[in-house]
């Protein structure tokens, strides 16, 4: 715009300049698309996280407890392994074991006497102690080393 074409003060005697023209629709559409994508990404990230082990740990943990005995009903020392995690524990001289901080949900608990093991599948509930009761571990099982 040249100086000659520019507005004079008289042009504004009735008020201030009208607001600048709005951005073209195309620009706004792009912004909306980006906002939509962002929302979708956040939702999908949420679903992904909800499926992860980290979520089940954050969502809640529970514990399990029980007694391990041999075929003669005598308490035995066993190793406890929570399958798919790094959680390990051992029973005491009474065969009693208690394992805390187990992610909630369906868990496979391996109860091992030496190299022989039995498996218990349990549902661990948040903040609850899941009692496995007395578990007989077959200590005389023939193994194929």
């Amino acid at each position: 715009m040249t100086l000659q074409d520019s507005p004079s003060l008289e042009d504004f005697s009735d008020g201030v300049l009208s607001p600048p023209p709005e951005k073209p629709n195309k620009k706004r559409r792009i912004t909306n698309i980006m906002a939509g994508l962002l929302v979708l990404i956040i939702i999908l990230l949420g679903i992904n996280f909800a499926q992860s082990n980290a979520f089940s740990e954050i969502a809640g943990q529970g514990k399990i407890s029980g007694y391990a005995v041999d075929e003669s009903n005598q308490p035995i020392l066993v190793d406890i392994i929570v399958f798919g995690t790094n959680i390990r524990a051992v029973s005491d001289e009474n065969g009693y074991f208690e394992v805390e901080n187990i992610p909630s949900g369906r868990q496979s608990i391996i109860i091992a006497f030496g190299l022989i093991a039995t498996e218990e599948v349990v549902i661990v509930e948040v903040g609850q102690n899941t009692e496995l009761g007395t578990i007989t571990v077959l200590t005389e099982t023939e193994i194929d080393y």
Binding site: K23, K27, Q51
Partner: protein, 240 residues
């Protein structure tokens, strides 16, 4: 003074952000569906006729020469050898040797497969109380985690085991005739989903079911006091 003209169109950065967003959404969606980007990509380009993603439907080992042993890792290398066109593992009476093959299972198009062995023989090599027999690893992370199908020629049992951190959990077992100790065995293991079935000469021997391990290596294993040999081994993908 001349004012810079304001540009209302979207810039390169905005287009790049949109593209990145769409890519991220696609990856996340595939992830939720349990598919990898590679799998999806391969499905698409295979439908367009490309062979770039083709994977083998089988891997086989004739055990005719020493190079057939290059892909088998573990155990004691000197205990694994080729003898008369067969792979043989010799025990020392103390330790079972496992040999895993990571390249075979990853080259197959499916985690469901059939493992076939021809001409398995097991001879007692060391005269002691230790077990003799030939075993097979499948869906194994290593030699302490995975599934084992065992033939114990000492006790005449075949068993499926699940091994977790070196701890053995028995899945199923069957007593087999003691005469098998002196026979050449053709065995087939059908690994499909969470069901595992063993056959001898096409006849079903044993079945087990478990879903803990869904993928992993295959392997062979010899018990401490035996010398186990196998003529041919084939792993064939089961395509749904």
């Amino acid at each position: 003074m001349r004012r810079k003209r304001e540009e209302y169109g979207q810039g390169f950065v905005e287009y790049a952000l949109i593209l990145a967003g769409i890519a991220l959404i696609a990856i996340l969606t595939l992830n939720i569906m349990g598919l990898s980007v590679k799998e999806a990509y391969c499905k698409v380009i295979t439908n367009f006729g490309s062979t770039a993603c083709e994977v083998g439907s089988e891997c086989s080992f004739a055990f005719d020469n020493a190079s057939d042993l290059d892909v088998w890792e573990g155990g004691d290398k000197e205990s694994l050898s080729i003898e008369d066109g067969r792979a043989c593992i010799s025990g020392n009476g103390k330790k079972a040797y496992s040999y895993l093959n990571s390249s075979c299972s990853t080259s197959l198009e499916s985690n469901d497969f059939t493992i076939s062995f021809d001409d398995i023989t097991v001879d007692r090599l060391v005269d002691n109380d230790a077990n003799t027999g030939f075993d097979t690893w499948f869906r194994a992370e290593d030699d302490e985690n995975g599934y084992l199908f065992i033939y114990n020629s000492n006790t005449n049992y075949m068993r499926f085991w699940k091994v977790v951190d070196g701890r053995w959990i028995k899945l199923s077992q069957v007593k087999v005739p003691s005469s098998w100790q002196n026979e050449s065995l053709d065995l087939e293991l059908n690994i499909e989903g969470d069901t595992f079935t063993a056959y001898r000469d096409g006849e079903k021997i044993l079945e087990a079911s478990d879903s803990a391990y869904t993928e992993g290596q295959i392997g062979i294993r010899n018990k401490p006091s035996s010398k186990s040999c196998v003529g041919n081994m084939t792993v064939e993908s089961l395509v749904p």
